[in-house]
Symmetry: C2
């Protein structure tokens, strides 16, 4: 797409460049919500943190300027990207606004905003199905109504996807999104769910919407401003976010940490290195005049958001977004639940996961959750497909436990003694693979965590399934020389013995 260029992918996440009239936004990106009147911290400060796009409210700007179309970049003294919301959020909160869609769309055009939203009716999460259906149809009607006004603009226009929490309604909205020439799709505000920390529900809805939206267009998720949920949303295909949480939390003395938001009073130590937290102690912050403290807390919160976005982008570059989610899922019960939703969407995510990456970082195989790593699943599926196309009558199974696997004593010996057998390795995470792959990614580039009962149960099932598909006549299975790797071998032998369609020999090279 001429305005949106993606280069790096992992899961359904991606790093992209979004071209706007006032510069390029690198996605995933979070737009800090700006208050044009009493903004804290200053826009220069926000810029200095690396944020080059902000979002503000066109409806409030309209009211403050009594409908006069002032140029918004001049007015805010901000020469980078400006996104404007339309007042939809105010509709959600106050029930109605004083302008109509056409007026606000024309106004956004005149003030010269870079990314603009039509006046939607957010369905929130409290509406009945019938109310949500009506809100959705009205939003869609307005999206069509706005087309003549916006098609000749050089702005990027946003289509708000509504209908949640009803998936049938979401489907109507996402199919509309395919037909309309909007530049960006946006998932309507899940703020209510966010406030209840129901991250799993949000993710399920966003994942569902993403699945049915045009993948080549950026997806904005409205009102999501906590570092905890951002990596999960990015993994499901979220590109853009916005949030006022940094300042709303600050006004309430709330301090973002990696594992949740804490009241400043609860903290004894500041678990952060940002310029604020490396300069002040909890006590000093608490004793400051309120205005200064709010400023510093907001700044800290922005630093946390910045860091989270950087972590996610670095993880995408390394092809380790899945590993990053495994890690983050353990920081809080709500995220552990959210991670189950990501697992549910694994098959969908897999499609987005490109075959090769420029640099291949070792696959981190930590515990049973790592069996669900889409990158691993895809590679194994390919190898298994390849294997099942061959007619393998005699197979010799060797436990892979020490890299490089094709230099294990068991392999060298077996190859010499049993040239008429096809040798295959088996591994608690990597499943079954031929020796030829032993030095390729990820059969060489991986690190193994624990091999407990659950890992072995899952692995042995998979390994047996693969072997059965090969319909061998003779099987030799080799015991590992090192005792601590016995468990998987024993489990497999136990199951191999229950069948009689082949002969089975167990071999040991222990001296």
């Amino acid at each position: 797409m001429e305005y949106f260029d993606t280069r790096d992918y992992d899961l359904a996440g991606r790093i992209g460049k979004l071209k706007t009239k006032h510069g390029i936004i690198e996605t995933p990106y979070l737009f800090p919500v700006i208050d044009p009147i009493r903004q804290q911290p200053s826009l220069e400060t926000i810029r200095s943190l690396g944020f080059n796009g902000i979002i503000t409210n066109a409806y409030l700007f309209y009211r403050r300027n009594k409908g006069l179309p002032k140029k918004i970049h001049d007015s805010l003294k901000w020469n980078n990207t400006i996104m404007t919301d339309s007042g939809g959020y105010q509709v959600l909160i106050y029930g109605d606004v004083e302008v109509d869609n056409k007026t606000i769309v024309e106004y956004e055009k005149k003030i010269g905003t870079d990314i603009a939203v039509i006046l939607d009716i957010p369905t929130g999460t409290k509406m009945s199905w019938e109310e949500a259906r009506q809100a959705l149809f009205e939003t869609n009607k307005r999206a069509v109504e706005a087309l003549p006004y916006i098609m000749d603009s050089d702005q990027l226009w946003v289509f708000p996807v509504q209908g949640s929490p009803y998936k049938d309604l979401l489907l109507i909205s996402t199919s509309t999104a395919w037909r309309l020439p909007y530049h960006i799709n946006a998932f309507g505000s899940p703020t209510v769910l966010l406030e209840k920390y129901e991250y799993d529900k949000i993710l399920d809805l966003v994942g569902f919407a993403r699945l049915h939206l045009p993948p080549h267009k950026p997806l904005h998720v409205f009102g999501v401003g906590h570092p905890m949920i951002i990596p999960f949303l990015v993994a499901l295909g979220g590109d853009l976010f916005d949030s006022a949480s940094y300042i709303l939390y600050a006004r309430d003395n709330r301090y973002m940490t990696e594992t949740g938001t804490k009241k400043l009073e609860e903290l004894h130590y500041l678990p952060c290195n940002c310029p604020v937290c490396s300069k002040y102690t909890v006590k000093e912050l608490l004793e400051m005049p309120r205005k200064k403290r709010v400023e510093y807390l907001a700044l800290h919160n922005l630093y946390m958001l910045r860091k989270e976005i950087n972590n996610v982008k670095q993880a995408i570059k390394e092809g380790r977004l899945w590993e990053y989610l495994e890690y983050k899922s353990k920081s809080h019960p709500t995220l552990r639940k959210a991670f189950e939703i990501v697992k549910k969407y694994t098959r969908y995510l897999e499609k987005y996961n490109p075959e090769t990456k420029g640099t291949t970082h070792a696959l981190l195989l930590i515990d049973k959750d790592s069996h669900h790593n889409p990158r691993l699943i895809r590679i194994k599926r390919k190898v298994y497909g390849m294997l099942s196309n061959k007619k393998l009558e005699n197979i010799l199974l060797i436990p892979a436990y020490k890299k490089p696997y094709n230099q294990q004593i068991e392999y060298i010996e077996a190859k010499r003694k049993y040239p008429e057998y096809t040798i295959l390795f088996y591994h608690p995470y990597l499943g079954v693979f031929p020796p030829q792959l032993a030095n390729t990614y990820p059969y060489f580039q991986h690190e193994v965590g624990i091999i407990d009962k659950e890992v072995i149960t899952k692995a042995s099932k998979e390994i047996l399934q693969v072997i059965n598909k090969l319909r061998p006549k003779k099987i030799i299975i080799v015991q590992p020389v090192e005792e601590k790797y016995y468990l998987l071998t024993h489990e497999i032998i136990k199951w191999l013995r229950t069948k009689t369609t082949y002969t089975l020999d167990v071999l040991s090279f222990r001296t």
Copy 2:
């Protein structure tokens, strides 16, 4: 102890105050290793990060000053705590040093160091059992030999525990530690294991040593300088650490992150908010003159160490060190393995875990790992002990799924209809508990993550065990009103039906 005062405890970790001649060190603490000649970053910078104690090498100081006893605080222009290592590390690396124990001990006394180490023979991890035994006995001999010199000093003296990796030898060393009046015990350098990232082995040895050392004395762990392992060592009772890694890594362009060390070239984004990383990009750092880059990387690494120590201390204050370890264990396969070692030492850890804390933060019950939380185990053991002392003939079991549990409809109805029954709640993590506890910690203060098959299997086993111990004559079990909580109930009913020592009724309040 007059020189070591501990106040906050969690697992075997604690926050303490170590009194030295030049000020108080709050533990857990990490001493940055200082090079008296070409130190980078400057000592003022290190001080400004909040580090108020440093460690340097008395043997190198001796050599550089040709044996002249210069006052070390004046020489380094450092008015806070100075710890000196003795040359033991040099013995480990180069095999021998040019001074004897008595000389270096007297020298450390004369230069006025605050915390001093005798000249030990580190066993490292490469020695044979016989070599390690000799090194250990020599170290113990020197520790006794030094006593007359150090007993009249106002310094804190360190006894190095040697013998690893041999546990029988470690036992000899730890029993010597009980007999000698040293102020601090130190676990001999596991640097070799550290370099191979064999965190599980280090932890196993440190955990074993801690178990047999006087718990009231601080434990120093030599040469551990990676933020990844620090929380695990603290959980097993490590109080003091030292490390040169911040600068050694920096010289090698290595950058500490939360999930491991990365080469600067591998990074596209800096996942950190420290003053260095919020000011420069990867590219800018790479293009700097080497000396400046090393300085900045070392500074970043120190910030990471500082943050980790703060995170650990905050977790101890919250009584959530276990939860923090669960989280950190998922950041890398080596840490996942390390976490299994911590689980192994759970029973030992439990002893250190005080009954109540000033503030009780919600227990985070994330997934099956949370069943091992020593805090949970101890509380349950107490409740089960209490229950088993009662004679409960008629029991009525109610699933606890919605807080406050004693306001669930099932409870209110059952209480009214079955006054002759003793009501007990059952829960996938909290096990069995009486309604009287429903509003106490942690039966009210907890958050639940996933309830998967493994959680249910473990929970139902425990619940059945508790019920069987009560030897009831009549059991009524209530099904949850909400369908999604059925699984645990079904599992329990299945097992309850296999016994005939009681009558069993299943009740439902669904409308």
